[in-house]
């Protein structure tokens, strides 16, 4: 029983980390401009495809492939943001939803055309194969690595937002956009940068978690509910709220699938609905 609990916690944390890295950008985008970006999962999917393709076809090491995914997707997302997204900042919620769903449809079709309908094979690098002994028991190396990298990344992110000038401007703009603009903060450029960072992180997460969330053309739709759940339960615009939500979701989902495999997702949805009944604005949201 104790061993099973440890396993569930371990797998759940790894899962939660991936969900958080992918979703945190969405939360900031929502908080900053209230933009409902349902195409956020596309960036994670794109990251996954870039990573897997670089590794399988060009023999690029895992770490470099992830970096490449981050840079490529962040660059593409900035172009999209400047040319298309920016036109809809003042538009209604329905327009934003439709527009981003349109983007998802298009990207799904493109991905299916280029890579085919099957999930992409992801081979864990040899170094990360097998088990690693952490003193009291051994764990799968890949997931241990995943958790380690995620923790480093998340700490860097939090420190960056708490301690740098960029982070201070970002927090100011999320809190009160007009006031921040009055103080001379260029929120348009700030938003482009944040958007790129969020999309890049999603791509990184998509690549890093390719073994957990399988890379196939349905990705952007399949996991959309999960990304939205992390953001809605965590509280829009919050940085740390989604972390708690992602951990709850990761561990809860893993536990449910382990204990009641038949009704795993059922309980997760039910728990989430109950949670939002209790706090409609999310755990850390401002009502």
């Amino acid at each position: 029983m104790f061993a099973a609990t440890i396993s569930i916690l371990f797998l759940g944390i790894a899962y939660g980390m991936v969900l958080y890295i992918i979703s945190v950008g969405l939360s900031v985008t929502m908080g900053l401009l209230g933009f409902v970006n349902l195409a956020h999962g596309v960036f994670a999917m794109a990251g996954g495809y870039v990573t897997v393709t670089l590794m399988n076809q060009y023999g690029v090491p895992f770490g470099f492939a992830l970096l490449a995914a981050f840079i490529i997707v962040a660059a593409i997302s900035v172009v999209l943001e400047r040319t298309l997204y920016a036109r809809l900042y003042g538009a209604g919620e329905l327009e934003q939803v439709l527009f981003t769903i349109g983007l998802v449809f298009m990207s799904v079709a493109i991905v299916r055309k280029l890579w085919g309908p099957l999930p992409q094979p992801f081979h864990v690098p040899h170094v990360l194969d097998g088990q690693i002994n952490l003193g009291f028991r051994s764990f799968p190396t890949y997931r241990t690595f995943l958790i380690g990298v995620s923790v480093l990344l998340i700490l860097t992110l939090w420190l960056g937002i708490e301690r740098t000038a960029f982070g201070a401007r970002l927090r100011a703009a999320v809190d009160n956009r007009r006031m921040a603009e009055s103080l001379g903060i260029n929120t348009g450029r700030l938003f482009s940068l944040t958007f790129a960072l969020g999309s890049g992180l999603a791509a990184f997460g998509g690549g890093l978690g390719a073994d957990i969330l399988a890379i196939d053309p349905g990705y952007a739709f399949e996991y959309l509910v999960y990304f939205l759940m992390v953001v809605a339960v965590g509280g829009l615009g919050s940085i740390k709220g989604p972390f708690v939500a992602a951990m709850l979701l990761g561990i809860g989902d893993t536990a449910c699938k382990y204990l009641v495999p038949q009704l795993g997702s059922f309980f997760i949805y039910l728990a989430m609905i109950a949670l939002l009944l209790w706090r409609p604005a999310g755990l850390f949201g401002r009502a």
Binding site: E95, G102, A109, R112, L277
Partner: protein, 330 residues
Amino acid sequence: MRRPAADASPVDRLIASHRLRPIELLPWVIAVAAYFVFPDYLPLGSQVLIMILFALSLDLVLGYGGIVTLGQSAFFGVGAYAAGIYSVHVSGEPLSGLVVAAIAAAVVGVISGLVILRTTGLTLLMLTLAVTSLLEATANHADFLTGGADGLQGMTINPILGRFEFDMFGRTAYVYSLVVLFLGWLLLRRLVHAPFGQSLIGIRENVTRMHAIGTPVRQRLLTAYTISAAVAGVAGGLLAQTTQFVGLTVLGFERSGAVVIMLVLGGAGRLYGAFIGAALYMIAQDQIAEVDPVFWDFWIGLLLVLVVLFARGGVLGLCDKLLLVVRRRR
């Protein structure tokens, strides 16, 4: 929309908008003509009519109430399963089956609406998706009742009113769907022109002001949500009865997404957008998607993006703009 004379009082304007205009009969003329002109396409025709009814139900909440939902298929699916299970276990009588579908969907509508309508924006959107997923998971696991992933087998539907038997050419199904759609249209047309519908538009345009003038906003939205759920349930029930099969896809996200796209392509918040959008979408899908489904996804996505960027209001919105240009020229 016809512009009322400038000196008309608001009451006259409301009454004028309620009056039946000749052009509103056009869809029905086309639908009846299609029965005689395209006898080979009647099964597709019934599907189109059913999707029009489904899109109409969405128009009430999304077009008029401004509730951005991606979970309308929840009610369609519940209606389909209710009608299907009713015919397998209780009776094959079709009309009572539709009533059962409507009631079941309305119950799910009230319960989910109580939760969903407490929130707004992204959270609301996510909850509508989650409710649909929840129901889909339930339908998948309750296979003793729903047939699970294999679909519901063994539906038999008695002749309508004991006289009109469902035939293999889909003639009865077409007429049946057309009559039900007509009744649904009458109901919704009546509702949106009534003070109820006007208050929904008010809520869509400015919630704060509607609160301020004392409108019970959440109760109004819940009522609309429930009625819309019931109509969507009837549409689902119709699909189940006319195809004599219910599969998990009735609850799928694809159906929710497709119906939103249909409505928006036609033009949301104006009743007739549902007719144009659903017909165009279904016919185009029938022609294109069979050949190359990937291609279809891409173009439908591109079309959505273009509509949002350049043609908000869809086909009917474009017609309005054209009319305006023509009138100015004169």
